[in-house]
């Protein structure tokens, strides 16, 4: 099995036909499904949050068989993920895609669990602590994308479970939990 760093690539990655957008509807559906799963899997394990369609994303080409996905193919697969609610376009031109291998709601729940695990039911933490602090090492929250974090925090704020605030202008942004 071919590897991309530590990530094991599935067999189909080595077959040229999979890199061409299939015209026949049934084959196309199967192909899209395989690519959707692959993209989500890869992003989850490698903690990739944003895919830029124009950029060199390792999944989009296989130099060993000399094939890479066309722009149309990339857009097709990512749009399928968007339709599933597992991704979002960050711009109208469909150039950047935010990958949600956890849905925003799931991230919100992970945040709540994080607060509970670390005794933060009435506590204050900075954004930076959530993303890079010692408590989040080894958890899902480590290195989380700021956009996703903000969205998850907003959901929880609407439910009254926390409040995002800033003390003085020199302070980091902080989160006060109220679980």
């Amino acid at each position: 099995m071919q590897k991309l760093g530590e990530f094991k690539l599935p067999h189909f990655f080595n077959y040229p036909p999979y890199f061409t957008l299939q015209p026949v509807r049934d084959t196309r559906e199967k192909q899209v499904q395989l690519w959707k799963d692959l993209i989500l899997d890869y992003c989850r394990t490698q903690k990739v949050f944003v895919i830029g369609l124009e950029e060199e994303f390792p999944l989009f080409s296989n130099p060993i068989i000399g094939r890479s996905l066309t722009h149309e193919a990339r857009e097709a697969f990512l749009s399928a993920l968007v339709a599933d609610g597992r991704a979002e376009w960050m711009d109208k031109g469909h150039r950047k895609c935010l990958i949600l291998w956890h849905r925003i709601q799931e991230w919100a729940e992970i945040l709540v669990q994080f607060a509970r695990d670390n005794g933060l039911e009435d506590g204050v933490v900075t954004m930076e602590e959530i993303r890079f602090g010692t408590e989040s090492q080894g958890t899902e929250l480590q290195g989380i994308d700021q956009t996703i974090l903000n969205r998850a925090l907003k959901i929880l704020e609407q439910k009254g479970k926390l409040v995002v605030f800033k003390g003085t202008s020199t302070d980091d942004e902080g989160v006060k939990f109220s679980l």
């Binding site: 204050v124 933490v125 900075t126 439910k159 009254g160 409040v163 605030f165 003390g167 980091d172 902080g174």
Partner: protein
């Protein structure tokens, strides 16, 4: 949409203070990392300069490194102060929480005790005692009626039972005594051994006498 009146947690001055401290902690850590990098770079530069035999410049690099190390020590002690204060704030706020819950418990206790009036309790005990005394009186009256008529009968029945039990006991004793008398019959055999002792005594006397004439 439903919840218009969701309670938003209030941000207190304490929270802002904590946030400021945590921000400071992050900034100091970043600064510390930067100082570490500079120190490492100066060390490397000094090494290279020594290799190139540029003594003065090597010494300069080492002096710069020393200055940075002193600064690092200061930053470390500031960091410790910030951490200490964060820990203190957390400790004090937990103490306050404990105090608040103890106070709430004490208030609850007082409220319940207020409902329980001492006079009510006394009245309750008195009522109970009255009721018991009344009951005892009734029992006594009823009790009197009975014993006046039946006490003699009961006493007679009691004496009957007693004598019955004594009679039951006596017949057993003779059977025990007959066992003993059977054994007594065996005893008369013993005296027959006495005469043997006298014969033995005579025979020894005869034995004693014989050697003398020799």
């Amino acid at each position: 949409m439903g919840n218009q009146f969701v309670k938003k947690p209030k941000v207190t001055d304490v929270d802002r203070a904590i946030l400021a401290l945590k921000t400071q902690r992050r900034k100091l850590s970043q600064y510390r990392r930067k100082l570490d990098a500079v120190i490492e770079a100066e060390k490397q530069a000094a090494r290279d300069l020594v290799r190139e035999k540029k003594k003065d410049r090597a010494l300069l690099a080492l002096k710069k490194k020393k200055a940075q190390e002193e600064l690092l020590k200061k930053v470390d002690s500031w960091l410790i102060n910030v951490e200490q204060q964060l820990a203190d704030i957390e400790l004090v706020s937990k103490q306050k929480d404990v105090f608040d819950s103890l106070k709430a418990g004490s208030n609850a206790l007082k409220a319940i005790q207020n409902e329980l009036n001492i006079e009510d309790v006394q009245k309750l005990m008195d009522d109970t005692a009255e009721a018991k005394a009344y009951q005892d009186e009734i029992n006594a009256i009823l009790g009197d009626k009975l014993s006046a008529e039946d006490e003699e009968e009961v006493l007679a029945e009691f004496e009957n039972l007693e004598t019955q039990l004594i009679d039951d006991d006596l017949p057993e004793v003779p059977t025990a005594a007959s066992i003993y008398t059977d054994e007594k019959l065996d005893l008369p055999d013993v005296p027959t051994t006495a005469p043997d002792v006298e014969v033995a005594a005579n025979s020894t006397k005869k034995v004693m006498e014989e050697p003398l004439p020799a």
